[in-house]
């Protein structure tokens, strides 16, 4: 199917069905049924089997008419990708549609106090007792755990095997007595991530994803999608200020379950604001600032095109070149460069925050949120290691733990 045909078809469908006075969830059910919400997904599961490269065409048509899409922001899409790749028919039936409609919210229970970069060193314990899995341990930095209905859980099921081989992957009901989420405040003032305490929490056997002991492979899928998606964060939770019931419902969603992600566009640096800020400050003629803005735009536009190249390769069924692995690291560079330029434009006003600060505190929020970009979803250092070892095939760091039973591996005292 070519671009023009897709465009014509989605446009006709939207013109026939889009109505801003419809309810948000009802509309998203229609999107799920028509396949236009996630057109690159399989036909069997709410998609249309379209090549990824044509998704932007569909998105453009949505924007043109102002149509709201399926729920996309947050961990939900990582959950969906993981379930599509490794889930059973039951998982797909049970979870995918409610992910798209926004009726369920998800979180990712990977990191622990003792294991972040080395996430495969998780020590949260899953034991099969009677007819169910019983989970004990502690997770940390779990974004939106306090809103989540379901969690993607990485836990250890075998302590005698090497660390990567003793892990299993579960879908856990977050709304049960054995799960307690305690919000953690961040340096930017938000509290979107949590400590999660799991005390005899239960998982039914059918909510195991993949085989017992193969949790690492499943988690790798989740992480790969998280890193590939790093580029998309900049548009999360922006919403629309248009009138109409569906927009109102979307704004309400952004204010509640999407609240943890309110600062995500700021974390990506808000390159979109740079030109308008410089113009408003009367600084567009400043030759030093012009150079810095030009450098930032070079980086950020090239980053977009890099991401697009990766998508195109995928669309044409070619193996992705290195461009597919670089996006997350590049997103950190963009965010940091944007923070520098925003500081430069703001000048003395960069001292101020909240209502006294530029754009009602938004600029301060950028400056205090950008540091998350190079940490969340795998640090820049880990991304560089991945690029060096997996893309460039440089010799790996010696890893004495690879074949040792996990119980013998040295770990943090505090965990």
């Amino acid at each position: 199917m070519d671009e023009a045909a897709v465009r014509a078809e989605v446009r006709a469908w939207l013109e026939a069905h889009w109505d801003p006075e419809r309810g948000l969830v009802a509309w998203r059910h229609m999107l799920a049924e028509s396949g236009w919400g996630v057109p690159h997904w399989p036909r069997e599961w709410y998609g249309r089997d379209l090549p990824v490269g044509l998704v932007p065409v569909v998105e453009e048509e949505f924007r043109r008419i102002g149509a709201v899409g399926v729920a996309k922001a947050g961990i939900r899409m990582l959950a969906a990708a993981t379930i599509l790749a490794h889930g059973t028919r039951l998982h797909k039936e049970r979870f995918l549609r409610r992910i798209l409609t926004g009726e369920d919210t998800w979180c990712q229970l990977f990191s622990e106090p003792g294991s972040g970069s080395d996430v495969a060193a998780a020590v949260t314990r899953a034991e099969f007792r009677g007819n169910r899995w019983v989970i004990n341990g502690q997770k940390v930095w779990t974004t939106s755990a306090h809103h989540a209905d379901w969690g993607l859980l990485l836990a250890r099921t075998d302590w005698d095997r090497p660390k990567h081989k003793g892990l299993s992957f579960f879908i856990i009901d977050m709304r049960q007595p054995g799960v307690e989420a305690r919000p953690l405040r961040q340096m930017n003032g938000y509290a979107s991530f949590n400590q999660v305490f799991l005390t005899d929490a239960e998982v039914p056997p059918e909510f195991l994803v993949g085989e017992v002991g193969e949790g690492w492979a499943v988690a790798t899928t989740t992480l790969m999608h998280e890193r590939r998606g790093a580029d998309a964060l900049r548009s999360w939770a922006l919403g629309s200020d248009r009138p109409g019931r569906i927009y109102e419902e979307e704004r309400a969603e952004i204010a509640t379950v999407m609240e943890p992600y309110r600062w995500y566009p700021q974390r990506a640096g808000r390159v979109d604001l740079v030109m308008e800020r410089a113009r408003a400050a009367g600084r567009l003629g400043d030759p030093v600032l012009r150079q810095e803005i030009a450098k930032l735009l070079t980086l950020s536009r090239a980053a977009e095109w890099l991401a697009r190249r990766a998508r195109t390769a995928q669309e044409q069924g070619r193996p992705q070149g290195p461009e597919g692995s670089l996006g997350k690291l590049v997103a950190s560079h963009v965010a940091r460069a944007a923070a520098r330029v925003h500081t430069q434009i703001a000048g003395a006003d960069a001292l101020l925050s909240g209502e006294d600060g530029p754009m009602g505190g938004l600029i301060a929020e950028i400056l205090l949120s950008v540091p998350a970009t190079s940490i969340a979803g795998g640090t820049d250092e880990i991304q560089r290691n991945i690029i060096a070892e997996r893309v460039l095939r440089m010799p790996k760091e010696p890893n004495p733990d690879a074949d040792r039973p996990f119980r013998e591996v040295p770990r943090n005292a505090v965990s």
Partner: protein
């Protein structure tokens, strides 16, 4: 030029470091930064009296100790290290500098002893809403009111401790003047009628700023009316050098804390400090901070010796410290990983100070330009 610390100075520093570490742990910084004032009078008065900090560079004739910038910058570096929440920079650098540089003997006699003893907390109000740090941008209007008194109308912003200071030195513009002409300094009591003071919300919660509105506020001139440009410019050079020294104190602390964390934190079965990329980052941070320290120390000596290159050196030190502090703060959060992004971890307190100090008195681009104006002239 004498460049290097004497035994006495080193001793002074280590005593001060011990004192400040005890008096201003992060828990105390967090307590004070949440208050509107940002510091506490009783506590500050006692601390100041114990060490004679505000007296340090005030001449003995005016109740001070008569030390130079070498000593003052040691104090600022150590205060920057612990993010001390006190009106020291405003009082001992800005207001004291303005009075010493602009005031008549009589005015010094009247104003300085109170500052030296710690009774008077003072500040300097010069920038305005436009956020420019140069004197030429001044718009606040001064009109003669007879009997040697003046009236001030207008506003000031970004005033360090402006809402709590007892005495405010104000830069204002005489009728019909423009540019660097017609500028005068005045003193105004903090509770003067017609003066409205509003604390501003700041990224760096440990350094409080205020916006001041003047409506017919009666003021006494400081120095010769119309002649403030030169003493003000000198005060700004001092401020840039002092801030650079304060900044390198904070940067060094961040660097040390991040390194200590990296040595302790285990991932992949080994301390993260054992990864070569961490070692390189740590080495780069050391280079950045040591270069900035060298520049800051040299600039302090240049102030004491009134070096001919001082304007360029002061700006060099400020720009160098700004870049080093910000870069160190970015690395420090990165080295801490997720925990570095939390409110409860202390790293962001220094990150905020680095961000605020980066733009206070002009960012690195501004100072590099000033440097070039001097050297390329």
């Amino acid at each position: 030029m004498k460049f290097g610390f004497s035994r006495e100075q080193e001793e002074f520093r280590s005593n001060l470091r011990r004192f400040l570490a005890e008096r201003s742990p992060p828990s105390e910084v967090r307590r004070l930064m949440e208050t509107e004032a940002g510091w506490e009078r009783e506590g500050w008065r006692r601390a100041n009296a114990a060490l004679g900090l505000t007296a340090l560079r005030i001449p003995e004739a005016h109740g001070g100790q008569g030390f130079g910038f070498g000593e003052l910058c040691i104090v600022l570096e150590e205060m920057g290290r612990v993010l001390l929440c006190a009106p020291y920079f405003a009082t001992a650098v800005l207001a004291t500098g303005a009075i010493l540089n602009a005031g008549t003997e009589e005015q010094k006699r009247a104003l300085l002893p109170g500052i030296a003893s710690g009774e008077t907390v003072a500040t300097l109000a010069f920038a305005e809403d436009a956020g420019r740090w140069d004197a030429a941008a001044t718009t606040l209007a001064a009109t003669p009111a007879g009997g040697g008194r003046w009236r001030l109308d207008g506003h000031k912003s970004f005033v360090l401790d402006g809402h709590t200071a007892d005495l405010i030195v104000v830069l204002a513009r005489g009728p019909g003047s423009a540019g660097e002409e017609g500028l005068s300094l005045f003193t105004v009591p903090g509770d003067a009628p017609g003066l409205e003071r509003r604390p501003l919300r700041t990224i760096d919660m440990t350094r409080k700023l205020a916006r001041l509105t003047f409506r017919g506020v009666e003021a006494a001139p400081l120095g010769a009316p119309g002649g403030a440009a030169a003493p003000f410019a000198r005060t700004m050079l001092e401020a840039a050098v002092c801030l650079a020294n304060e900044m390198v104190g904070g940067a060094e602390r961040l660097r040390e804390d991040a390194l200590a964390y990296a040595k302790m934190r285990v991932q992949f079965g080994r301390p993260v400090a054992s990864f070569q990329s961490m070692k390189h980052k740590a080495a780069d941070m050391l280079v950045d901070v040591e270069l900035a320290k060298a520049a800051a120390y040299y600039a302090a000596a240049a102030l004491d010796e009134d070096d001919a290159e001082l304007p360029a050196i002061a700006s060099l030190a400020k720009a160098c410290a700004a870049d080093a502090y910000m870069q160190t703060a970015i690395h420090a959060i990165q080295i801490h990983g997720g925990i570095g992004f939390t409110w409860d971890n202390d790293t962001h307190l220094w990150f905020r100070r680095a961000k605020g100090s980066e733009v206070l008195f002009g960012d690195a681009h501004h100072h590099r330009e000033l440097m070039m104006r001097h050297w390329a002239a």
